[in-house]
Subunit: 295 residues, 2 copies
């Protein structure tokens, strides 16, 4: 297949490599051309204009930094993708963007006969390189079926509902991650404050009901005081705010998401915004406990 990749940053670059390695004809565009050009050793064809990249592409993977940037690349002057997209081709929007932005992009592209899936990912740069991303896809089942062999080259694909639902799933992910980090932080702080061995407790809980990826990875970061991101607290806060904004339009009350959001806001306001989200531990850790974990 002919595949265009728009955006070859930390995530898009290894994804483009994986697609080219599998034998697809991959064109790549990036705002800074050198990042696209550096992929030519992998057989990726770097191009200088968005329209040149998407012309004749059957699949267009978009992996840019935000909803507005995606909107600009798809629809903005002077080089809007929409004017060069082939009718019948499929845009796979893999950035994390608001649910409403995804729905609106799908509607606009449908007018040009272009199919649309929103397919945000979790798993980070490591997942992109190793092609083990979790890919949450919103859109028509038929549309997914046509491009699923391409997506499977990047990770594990799950269809989670109509357009926008990929973003909804990603928000669910971010909600669980943010609250669970907070829960693990409070539990380890309780043990430390009570005079117990928090590292031993973390080990004891592995394999039981309290076990989670967060206890394993972020729990260890908390105990080591290793808050080099990973995922920044500012991003966790932004995601929780997006969750709460959406919940409010759905008349949903989500008290734990609300509480976790307030905690990450405190962390960001006290200078911890660029630290890993596991640094929320430093907020609950009492002054009298072992201070090894403080940044």
């Amino acid at each position: 297949m002919r595949v265009a990749v728009l955006g070859t940053g930390l995530m898009g670059a290894p994804m483009a490599r994986n697609l080219a390695r599998a034998g697809h004809t991959v064109t790549a565009w990036n705002r800074s051309f050198d990042k696209a050009e550096s992929l030519s050793d992998a057989g990726v064809i770097p191009v200088r204009s968005i329209q040149a990249a998407v012309t004749a592409a059957e699949v267009v993977v978009v992996m840019l930094s935000s909803g507005p940037v995606c909107d600009e690349v798809l629809f903005g002057a002077p080089d809007p993708a929409v004017e060069a997209l082939e009718p019948g081709s499929t845009v796979i929007l893999m950035s994390s963007i608001p649910v409403e932005t995804a729905r609106s992009q799908a509607e606009k592209l449908a007018k040009s006969g272009v199919r649309y899936l929103d397919a945000p990912v979790s798993g980070g740069e490591k997942g992109a390189i190793e092609a083990t991303l979790t890919i949450m896809v919103g859109g028509e089942a038929n549309d997914l079926e046509r491009v699923e062999p391409v997506l499977r080259l990047l990770g594990r694909v799950t269809h989670v509902g109509p357009v926008g639902c990929g973003q909804l799933a990603k928000l669910a992910n971010q909600l669980i991650v943010g609250v669970t980090i907070g829960a693990v932080a409070e539990a380890l702080a309780l043990v430390a404050a009570g005079g117990g061995d928090a590292a031993a407790v973390r080990s004891a809980l592995l394999g039981g009901f309290a076990d989670s990826t967060i206890l394993r990875q972020h729990g260890e970061r908390m105990l080591k005081g290793d808050f080099k991101p990973g995922a920044k607290s500012t991003v966790q806060l932004k995601d929780l705010r997006t969750v709460l904004d959406l919940a409010s339009t759905l008349a949903l009350h989500l008290p734990l998401a609300d509480t976790a959001s307030a905690q990450f806001e405190r962390l960001c306001q006290s200078g911890g915004g660029d630290l890993d989200h596991a640094a929320v531990y430093t907020l609950v850790l009492p002054d009298t406990a072992d201070t090894a974990a403080r940044p």
Copy 2:
């Protein structure tokens, strides 16, 4: 070794069987004698008095329903274990009781030359039967070393600090479990309310950062509307209150535990106290969403 088991209910009975099966001489006492008697097929020796059970025992396993019941069996008239316990023997208190109760029991027994470990468990009846309990031990390392071969017959043993810290670890477990259940409930409710496929989202998130035992087991219960306990919401609420009481004596502020406690209080007050703690999902699920999950 000679081992006495005080309390042969859902948890104590299979534990006594596992100890006898391994070749230890096991005496068993239970308030309702028939429950102890029913273990004689496994080679356990049922006895009618607490003091008869513990006489000459090197290890005394206590698995009763609460701190006050443990206190009564150890120290209460007319049949207090303390008067028959051998100096140099070890009481392993495996019930979930307040940290302060554990410390006070240890002090009292020390006056009679009796060693003490607090070793609460997680893993439930299934873990007790299969000898796969998570056993969190507080006490002196030397004291644990002497009895560890016995404890290993019941599950995985971790030493987590001095006396009381086993209970502290159990509270950490209950905190993480209660908050994570709430997080999964909010995330799945968000997806359902937004028109996504909550079951597909749960599947998509397995293996990623949002993965947890709770997402796997309680997430599935939520989606099936299966709230047969498991662990009752009243017990989850009691445990979260114990966490918050302890936190307050330690001058710790635990906002997520606080929020989760309020949620379980709402659930219990609205008649859900005897449902599994996963039923907290019914509180956040909007009226307009798929109602399959309602009890």
